[in-house]
């Protein structure tokens, strides 16, 4: 009987040697005369266990990891093909607490299936949402998404259904779905994991959005540093077209929807939606003023849904199970689940999809297991490079958009970067300004010049030059940037700076 062995093709796994492990398993099987089929799946998101090899057994899939090529011989010897015990064995994957405690809606298939297999996709519940959407009136699809309470996962958390409704209501000869896959936030990788691990999910989500708003063309704007995701998407788009999932007659519905892929310009600001639209149009990635909203005048001036990968990837589940089922998860006005990403100095980094409402402490300790260095956590930055630095005193905050924002935080794309007590927070504040000075699109003055001045003022504060006056100047500058910047890049850069200054003043007065 053929034994199926799963070795991830996810780039996080590849970066720690998954390719060689897969080869070693193939070689070992041949040498030992074992009938083995190696399936290259996505990642389960337990990054410290990568390469995580799984074997399908009668007792479910048994996990081994992290596996080095040198371990393979021993694994064969231990009978891993039958789930045999070994030092690297973690038992059934589903039972690993890190995994078991999650609520995987969006990531349900990621790591489970062969990402590019159309059959796997269908066999694991794929396309049900799209099929249902086909039977519905556009407004009904939009209503379902509104009801789900799904909010944008790219940063701002704007209700996706409301955005879709605006685009649906706009009349135009052409509308677009633009998927923001620029994933520029430090320590984030959930978009990439879906695109590499379950690309049809994104395509299905985009098709649903297309049906919902009357768009026939979708564009994916993919971060240039994601070559593996690119390959996965290119293949997935080709196969989906060939299978009639995309194209002139989506699933035989007579409706049209196709997807194009565009590689990003390699700059952080191109993740900002209007700069992304400019870049998609082949121009320099510069932020556009709003209004007009992209929903009314987006790509090439046409009504456009701009959504993050995670937002669109949530749609199939919502259509499959209903908006109410999705809204049953979460708290307050933060409905459903969020795939959090633990990174930085953390012991168990990886992807954690859980309903909103979980606290930072639970994420950091119950999932993350504290720092990798074993030292105390001093600060975390949530929501990417523009997110606030939070001290331990804030770790009991529930991750729920409004209360979290009220406490000065930002959930953003769900990235959480952990720092231990060796971190110099003045340096981190300076870094925030520097990042802005380098990455800003340069369009507006407060951000373009202010970020450089901010860096200089922090240097003077740290050097003890007229400290009080310079701290006041830094605060004034942050106010100017916050209140006058055209987009959130300049507008939010003060967040990490001021939070560092507020919570860790001692680092500025060493």
């Amino acid at each position: 009987m053929t034994t199926t062995v799963y070795v991830p093709r996810d780039s996080a796994a590849l970066s720690v040697g998954a390719e060689a492990v897969a080869e070693a398993i193939v070689a070992g099987a041949r040498a030992g005369g074992h009938d083995v089929q190696v399936v290259r799946n996505g990642s389960r998101g337990m990054l410290w266990l990568e390469p995580l090899v799984e074997v399908a057994t009668a007792n479910g899939r048994i996990a081994y990891g992290p596996v080095a090529p040198g371990d393979v011989e021993g694994l064969f010897a231990a009978g891993f093909l039958r789930g045999g015990d070994h030092a690297l064995c973690h038992g059934p994957t589903d039972k690993i607490p890190y995994f078991a405690q999650q609520t995987r809606l969006t990531f349900a298939r990621v790591g489970v299936t062969d990402p590019l297999s159309l059959e796997h996709y269908r066999a694991h519940g794929g396309l049900v949402g799209l099929q249902r959407a086909i039977t519905m009136a556009p407004a009904a699809i939009v209503d379902e998404v509104v009801q789900s309470g799904l909010r944008g996962r790219g940063g701002a958390g704007f209700p996706a259904g409301i955005k879709w409704r605006t685009v649906l209501g706009a009349s135009a000869d052409q509308k677009y779905i633009a998927c923001n896959a620029d994933e520029g936030d430090s320590g984030t990788f959930s978009d990439r994991m879906v695109m590499e691990g379950d690309p049809y999910l994104l395509l299905e989500g985009m098709a649903i959005a297309g049906l919902a708003v009357g768009a026939t063309e979708g564009w994916i704007y993919l971060r240039s540093e994601y070559p593996d995701a690119r390959v996965a998407l290119v293949t997935a788009i080709q196969r989906a077209r060939a299978a009639g999932w995309l194209g002139d007659d989506v699933l035989g519905s007579g409706r049209q929807f196709d997807v194009q892929l565009r590689i990003g310009a390699g700059s952080y600001i191109c993740g900002e939606e209007t700069a992304m639209l400019e870049s998609l149009e082949g121009k320099r990635g510069m932020v556009r003023p709003k209004p007009p909203l992209p929903a009314l005048a987006g790509l090439w001036g046409k009504p456009t849904v701009v959504n993050n990968v995670m937002t669109l990837a949530a749609a199939p589940w919502i259509l499959q199970h209903g908006g109410a089922a999705y809204a049953a998860h979460g708290v307050g006005r933060s409905k459903g689940t969020l795939p959090f990403q633990l990174a930085g100095n953390v012991k168990h980094g990886g992807l954690v999809e859980v309903p909103f409402g979980i606290t930072l402490r639970e994420l950091l300790h119950d999932f993350g297991g504290g720092t990798a260095s074993g030292r105390k956590i001093r600060a975390v930055q949530v929501g990417g490079p523009l997110g606030a630095y939070l001290p331990a005193s804030r770790f009991d905050l529930p991750l729920d958009y409004e209360p979290f924002a009220a406490a000065g935080g930002m959930i953003g794309h769900g990235g959480i970067v952990v720092f231990d007590d060796t971190v110099d927070m003045a340096k981190m504040a300076r870094y925030a300004m520097e990042f802005c000075a380098i990455e800003s699109c340069g369009k507006c003055t407060p951000c373009r010049i202010g970020s450089t001045r901010g860096k200089e003022v922090i240097d003077r504060i740290v050097a003890g030059e007229r400290r009080e006056a310079n701290v006041a100047l830094l605060q004034d500058l942050c106010t100017t940037m916050k209140d006058t910047s055209l987009c959130a890049m300049g507008g939010l850069t003060p967040l990490p700076v001021l939070s560092a200054l507020e919570h860790f003043p001692e680092d500025f007065a060493r």
């Binding site: 003023p289 507006c444 003055t445 373009r448 202010g450 003022v457 100047l473 209140d483 006058t484």
Partner: protein, 950 residues
């Protein structure tokens, strides 16, 4: 930038039917929907600080000074990018807003040199103004931080500097280049603090920049600054006037210091140009005070005699006595005059009046003979009026444009920018031209069809397109039957539908694949509003008039005349081609295109002028030359035209000029023609006189005197003096009185007066009781002639055929930086772009002849030969070569032939069979030209003028 005395509303006007009422600082304001809060405030007299916004560009939202508070909204929206909404309550001033604006200003100034007092923009700088308005008193960041103060200046453009140390990266320049000019030469390079403005990889001169100056005008600081301002300082007053170059007729503000021009800035309210201009109008005005200007009258009895400087009185008396002597000896008809399309309407009117009333004959013609005479003939015949049917603004409503025989980006640059704006917004484009002109492919514009026809086959192409329209049922029968002469239409239809006019039958002849002809015809016929724009590539052919009528046919059969967005639009070459034709410069027509054979019209003029008018048409220019050579024509008064350079078959022209007993030339330079003259009367430039020009859209605009005539007399005064000396006194104290007389005598001008032009800015004729404010679009209800007339346009190949000896076709044209014979532009820094005429040739033809790029080659026709530098380029099609005629020593017209339009004698400049031979030295003609030039140089008084030497 504009002088800061000109109000800037921040964002462009939004013409909208709906209006919106809101409150700004408690004051009720009502504006058209879509208007920005910034503009609404400015309209209400509330000036919100701004730097990146200007009313010629779409809002951008970069400076963040224009922030306001809106009741019920969070944050501080930028008023330039925020549209007015009903009931909005806007606050433009508050403690908080003041702090924010000062905060932004403080950042700007932390990266700006502190040399305001010695800065060329001092006194006219928006950054300075905003520092003042925001009350910035201190830059707490200091000046030691990272900055751009060491960035090197780019002085490569001869007219303006780029000093990046002063740049505030507002992108106004980039946006002006993109949105207004459509060249896309500028970019913002880098990101974040490193963002800088860049023109191409190295500098402005080596970039795509066409030096239109839109960026300079848009720049709020001294970063992009006219060198004239750097040298001379800011102006103290300004006078509104009109460009004296091409037929676009851009309105300008001449910014002055005393009687010295320091800068020309296109006028925002100019209806032809809406604040835009090209390199020529904006920058190339230095010729007006060039040392080569002729400022003293001169006379001589033979052209081999030295010139003698004399007083005005003596010169005029001598000229008059010569005319009288010649008329006494050879008869009344032995003299004539040539009016200029570069002079004002009033001057042109006076010259033809002088000829008709003072000389007593009809021997008056104009340089339009050699450019747009077929337009006059063709459009009069088909539509009833010798003029374009539209205004320029009409293009805003065009869905499909045909550009045939015109190269707007070079010849009519400001209108080309308008076209490009419309094309970028989605209109389709069909280019019919032997060359791949720039419009075929420029940034964000691509022609849907380029039909690279063989020169001389315009009629074949237009007939083939009409054939497709008629035979495929695309004709607007309803329109045609209602508006046109039906029997004539039926006749034409039978003709055009015949198989000989099918694309398949004509493709070999015209060199355009039948499929393209069909595709283009369908595209044009099916587009909502189709407009046809054409230039000298249509008229300067043996079938010039036929082509104009074929164009009119095409427009009528597709229902494309009589409303905005459509029409037949001749792009006029020189500034006043339309006007000089209107003013009765043709030998057969009195002002307003009325035939001298019409007794009633003659009577009207005879009564007003107090002399009888001859009833037979006089001589056309080529007839004058022939008559001069055969000895019956002996005296000629030429105002402001250089026939020796611009007319075809130079050797013939030279011979004719040499045969004259008295040639009176009135010009601002010692031009080629002047070298054959006996009397040289100094001309005055457009800066030195009052008058009007009429542009390609029939728009009459004022030319205003900003400085006294250098030689003491304006051109119109000289004609008046000459007339008086001839015994026919004219009584005018000011050109406005000339216009009053024109209005009195010309039905299409009845309502025109200087007062009204001052009031309205400009007027498009017809302007009379029926249309007191003028007529932007003609033939709206019915054609001027009643019913439109289809004319059968049989294609007849030009007699000029290629042969074994002359296997190539030469076609001629012009380029952006030079104007016509170049007398003006060659005396400016424009020569940086074009210091010699070159011969463009396709690589294939070059290779066959062993010609390499940049070498001197001989261009030979049955008429003569000349030597030019070869430029090998794929812009040409094989078999066709191209050159310009901006430099006299190029001798291009030595090569062109005597062939001309069958109806009007307009020369066939566009088709000459030639051979090109590698490795050439100067031709015999050129050597003769050189020695004649140096001989004439030697005959000049030592103190005074210099001739037109290289």
């Amino acid at each position: 930038m504009y002088s800061n005395k000109v109000q800037d509303f921040g964002t462009p006007a939004r013409p909208a039917a709906k209006s919106v009422a809101l409150q700004i600082d408690g004051q009720p304001v009502t504006v058209p929907a879509g208007t920005s809060v910034l503009r609404a405030a400015a309209l209400a007299g509330v000036n919100i600080p701004k730097l990146c916004a200007t009313d010629s560009l779409e809002a951008f939202g970069s400076c963040r000074l224009c922030l306001v508070e809106v009741e019920g909204r969070r944050g501080f929206p930028a008023s330039c990018t925020t549209h007015c909404e009903p009931g909005m309550k806007v606050r433009t001033q508050s403690r908080k807003l003041a702090d924010l604006r000062r905060g932004v200003m403080e950042l700007y100034i932390s990266d700006h040199p502190l040399d305001c007092l010695t800065c060329p923009a001092n006194g006219n700088c928006e950054l300075q103004d905003m520092a003042g308005v925001t009350g910035l008193r201190e830059v707490r960041y200091g000046y030691a931080g990272e900055n751009h103060l060491a960035a090197p200046k780019d002085e490569s453009n001869p007219y303006f500097t780029f000093d990046p140390t002063k740049c505030i990266v507002c992108s106004r320049c980039v946006r002006a280049c993109d949105e207004i000019q459509g060249t896309f030469a500028l970019t913002v390079q880098g990101r974040g603090f490193g963002s800088t403005i860049a023109a191409g990889p190295t500098n402005f001169l080596d970039s795509e920049c066409v030096s239109c100056g839109a960026c300079v005008q848009a720049c709020p600081t001294s970063t992009l600054m006219e060198k004239s301002i750097v040298d001379q300082g800011q102006p103290d007053h300004a006078v509104d006037t009109t460009c004296a170059y091409c037929g676009v007729g851009c309105a300008f503000r001449a910014e002055m210091k005393g009687s010295e021009v320091v800068r020309m800035v296109p006028h925002k309210d100019g209806k032809a140009n809406h604040g835009h201009s090209c390199i020529k109008g904006r920058f190339a005005w230095g010729y007006a005070t060039h040392p080569d200007r002729v400022n003293t009258p001169m006379i001589r009895s033979k052209i081999t005699d030295p010139w003698r400087e004399v007083s005005w009185d003596e010169a005029i008396a001598y000229a008059a006595s010569e005319i009288k002597r010649i008329q006494a000896r050879y008869g009344k008809d032995s003299v004539g005059g040539i009016t200029s399309s570069r002079c004002t309407n009033e001057e042109t009117y006076l010259v033809q009046k002088l000829v008709r009333a003072g000389f007593g004959n009809n021997n008056v013609d104009t340089c339009a003979r050699v450019c747009h005479s077929p337009t006059g003939y063709g459009l009069k015949t088909t539509l009833g009026e010798s003029a374009g049917t539209q205004d320029f603004d009409s293009v805003e409503h065009t869905d499909c444009m045909i550009v045939i025989g015109a190269n707007p980006t070079d010849g009519h640059p400001v209108f080309a920018s308008r076209m490009k704006q419309r094309l970028r917004a989605g209109a389709t484009l069909i280019v019919i031209d032997p060359r791949r002109i720039d419009l075929v492919r420029t940034p964000h514009v691509a022609a849907d069809f380029h039909l690279p026809l063989k020169p001389g086959t315009n009629v074949a192409v237009l007939n083939a397109m009409a054939h497709v329209i008629v035979t495929e049922g695309l004709a607007r029968e309803g329109y045609v039957r209602e508006r046109c002469e039906v029997d004539q239409y039926e006749k034409w239809k039978t003709f055009i539908a015949s198989p000989k006019n099918s694309p398949e039958a004509l493709e070999a002849e015209c060199g355009v694949p039948a499929a393209s002809l069909r595709g283009a015809a369908r595209l044009f016929a099916k587009a909502g509003n189709g407009a046809i724009y054409y230039g000298l590539g249509v008229t300067e052919h043996s079938q010039g008039s036929t082509t104009v009528m074929a164009i009119a046919n095409l427009a009528m059969v597709t229902g494309n005349i009589g409303r905005p967005g459509v029409g037949v639009n001749p792009l006029r070459g020189q500034n006043n081609v339309q006007g000089s034709c209107d003013m009765g410069s043709f030998p057969h027509e009195l002002p307003g295109y009325r035939h001298v054979g019409d007794a009633g019209v003659r009577e009207l003029f005879a009564t007003t002028w107090g002399v009888p008018i001859q009833d037979e048409p006089g001589l056309r220019i080529p007839n004058m030359f022939d008559a001069a050579i055969d000895g019956s024509f002996k005296g000629l008064y030429v105002q402001g035209e250089d026939i020796a350079q611009s007319d075809p078959d130079t050797k013939h022209v030279q011979k004719a000029l040499e045969s004259l007993e008295c040639l009176i030339v009135q010009d601002i330079f010692l031009c080629e023609t002047a070298k054959y003259a006996h009397v040289l009367l100094p001309g005055s430039s457009f800066l030195e006189k009052d008058g009007t020009f009429t542009n390609a859209e029939r728009r009459i605009s004022r030319v205003r005197k900003v400085m006294p005539p250098l030689a003491g007399m304006a051109d119109w005064e000289v004609t008046v003096a000459l007339s008086r000396a001839l015994g026919y006194p004219m009584h005018y104290d000011h050109p406005s009185q000339v216009m009053d007389e024109i209005a009195l005598l010309t039905p299409t001008f009845t309502g025109v007066s200087y007062d009204k032009i001052d009031r309205l800015g400009s007027i498009q004729w017809p302007c009379n009781d029926a249309a007191p404010d003028g007529t932007p679009v003609m033939h709206e209800q019915e054609f001027v002639r009643g019913k439109g007339r289809f004319v059968v346009t049989e294609y007849v190949a030009t007699p000029e055929r290629t042969t074994r000896k002359f296997p190539l076709i030469l076609t001629t044209g012009r380029i952006l930086s030079q104007y016509n014979v170049g007398a003006q532009t060659r005396r400016t820094e424009n020569k940086v772009w074009h210091d010699a005429d070159v011969l463009e040739i396709h690589p294939h033809d070059a290779e066959q002849r062993g010609i390499t790029h940049g070498e001197m080659v001989s261009l030979q026709s049955r008429k003569g030969e000349t030597t030019l530098r070869a430029v090998v380029t794929e812009r040409m099609q094989p078999g066709v070569v191209y050159t310009t005629f901006h430099h006299p020593e190029s001798g291009v017209n030595v090569v062109t032939t005597e062939n001309s339009d069958w109806a009007t004698n307009c020369p066939e400049y566009k088709v000459t069979a030639v051979q090109v031979v590698a490795h050439a030295k100067k031709s015999e003609w050129q050597r003769g030209f050189d020695s004649f030039a140096s001989q004439q140089e030697g005959l000049l008084p030592k103190t005074a003028v210099r001739g037109d030497v290289r």
